[in-house]
């Protein structure tokens, strides 16, 4: 029964025009990045790309998926997660379909898990899609002799793919954590736009707060603090500490979001 509901949920999400447009937009990102770096290479030495990871993109196509996801994690992926979370509960309430599900009946806790599953599956799908397109476009535009890490070592293509896979999982988890919090908001309103606005505002405000060194006592509480540390996947050997911290941080958000959403759903009148 639950697999049938999971399947229905994912099919429903994939059928939504907005989802398709969003996925299309996401796929453009790695292509644009590869193309941008490729054109920059014509400008000769130092014509370079963006700082950080961008500096080693030249001739290093396997890094494109990681760079793309890393960049997108700041705004684009949270936006997509928030849209899915918004449509999941607030959107269904708005269309009156939530009632239909509840009298079917789907227990409210079950409903939340169906929604979380849909969010997770679609996040994983979107992130993987971006990564695959990134590998292809990166290889096409920038070439591929294995993956050069931030530490200056060069990994074989197979090792590189493992790193990309790991990064996909890490980024998906962050996305799901954000989505879970967005689901909590989503369970409390009938307006999907409110959910998106609230989630994105929070993410942006968190990032701004992260800039103030005077607020460093606050930083460990902000999920956005964990984002930059994920780049450690590109160091060799991988230092696991920050990656672990970021994932734990996201895990806390996931628990809080899911818990609040469950409380709200169970007590909600619809």
């Amino acid at each position: 029964m639950i697999t049938r509901q999971f399947g229905s949920e994912v099919r429903w999400m994939l059928r939504r025009p907005r989802t398709l447009i969003g996925l299309f937009g996401l796929v453009l990102v790695p292509i644009i990045i590869s193309f941008g770096i490729w054109t920059a290479s014509d400008e000769g030495e130092g014509g370079g790309g963006p700082p950080g990871l961008g500096a080693i993109l030249q001739g290093n196509g396997m890094v494109v998926p990681i760079f793309t996801l890393f960049l997108s994690l700041n705004l684009l992926l949270p936006l997509v997660a928030s849209i899915w979370a918004a449509d999941g509960l607030a959107g269904e309430a708005q269309h009156g379909t939530l009632r239909g599900l509840l009298v079917a009946p789907v227990s409210r806790v079950r409903l939340l898990f169906v929604k979380l599953f849909g969010l997770t599956a679609m996040s994983l799908f979107a992130v993987t899609l971006m990564a695959v397109v990134g590998i292809i476009s990166g290889t096409a535009f920038l070439g591929n002799d294995g993956m050069m890490t931030l530490s200056g070592t060069t990994l074989s293509t197979a090792e590189g793919l493992v790193r990309i896979g790991l990064f996909i999982l890490l980024v998906t988890f962050q996305m799901v954590a954000i989505g879970a919090v967005a689901l909590a908001v989503s369970s409390a309103t009938e307006h999907p736009l409110v959910v998106q606005a609230a989630t994105m505002t929070t993410i942006i405000v968190f990032q701004v707060l992260g800039q103030f060194t005077s607020l460093d006592w606050l930083h460990p509480f902000l999920i956005t603090t964990g984002f930059p540390g994920l780049i450690d996947v590109m160091r060799d050997p991988i230092p696991w500490e920050q990656i672990g911290d970021s994932t734990l941080l996201a895990g806390c958000y996931l628990l809080i979001g899911t818990g609040l959403a469950a409380i709200r759903l169970v007590t909600k009148d619809s």
């Binding site: 700082p51 990871l53 080693i56 050069m148 200056g152 460990p220 930059p228 230092p239 628990l255 818990g259």
Partner: protein, 357 residues
Amino acid sequence: MNKRKVTLAAAAAGVITGVAGLSLAAMPAGAGQPPSLPDVSAESLVQQVLTSKPGAFGGTVEVDNKLGLPSLAEIPQLADGKHSARIWTDGNGKFRAALPNGQSEQTIVNDGKTTWSWNSADNEVTKAEHKADQPKPDEQKAQSVDPAAAAKQVVGLTKEFSDITVDGTARVANRAAYELVLTPKASEKTLIREVRIAVDAELKMPLRVAVLTNGASEPAGTVGFKEINVGAQDPKLFEFTPPAQAKVTTPEAKEEKGRDRRPELGVEQALQGKDPQIFGTGWDTVVGARIPAEAMTQVPAEAQGLVDKFTKKVSGNWGSGQVFTTKVATILIADDGRVVAGAVPEQVLFDTIGQVK
């Protein structure tokens, strides 16, 4: 109990766990119970530290710095705040250091014959083949974040001018350690109150160095292992092949370019230069030098602004100049190019600057 209540309780427990997790993560890791170790005399511990020969190890070092230094692009690890670095050594001179800087990384590898220095920010490798006894600047930089090497140096230089005690034990990087405390003798005119060195009980290798200054209870600077694994390291770590896309240069070429780009580093270079003049001994040693006049006038406007921001104008019977103060050190730059610096109050510098040739 009814199902709804169970659900609500479980959900609330989830939320509480999440919040607790966040708070735990935000809390600085507690030092934990200090281990109990057999007593050891200060003298023998010092002796053991100086003679210990650390074997192979790899670990993560955390530099917690409240010195009040302006951040230098060259050594981001020394700017204020917490920074971490990873170091590996095979115990026989080969080593690797990874110094992350935001999203980029500087990697320094000594493979026994060559010191490679890679910076991902500019996709550039500096290759220094080892020649007989030449200073290797990047290597020094890498070692400055190695608590073991730093501590050994401090102990070596100051033990005669200090009261040395063993002040209990500590747990550093999950290893038991003695706290060796060097307190400058009363006659020393220094800013430093004490230096605490956590010495591994088993390996006698310093694991952490903390510098405490007069009038502050928190250390002004700490360099210590956050995590360490002792034993043979993967030999691949001590090899380096420049990536295909990277530009490879020599340190000489790099230095040329660096000098053009950053004239404001003149002071640092002068003090580290060929013939610094040393005045005094022990904790209140003062280093002096003279910056060539043209370097003084070369300072560009914006760099001058930076200098003015961090310094204070002073004058005395020695002349006039600017004094730059941090918690652990003071630098006096006279307008005529004389420079003196030391871990001393500024008065000591005023008294010493006259001796600079």
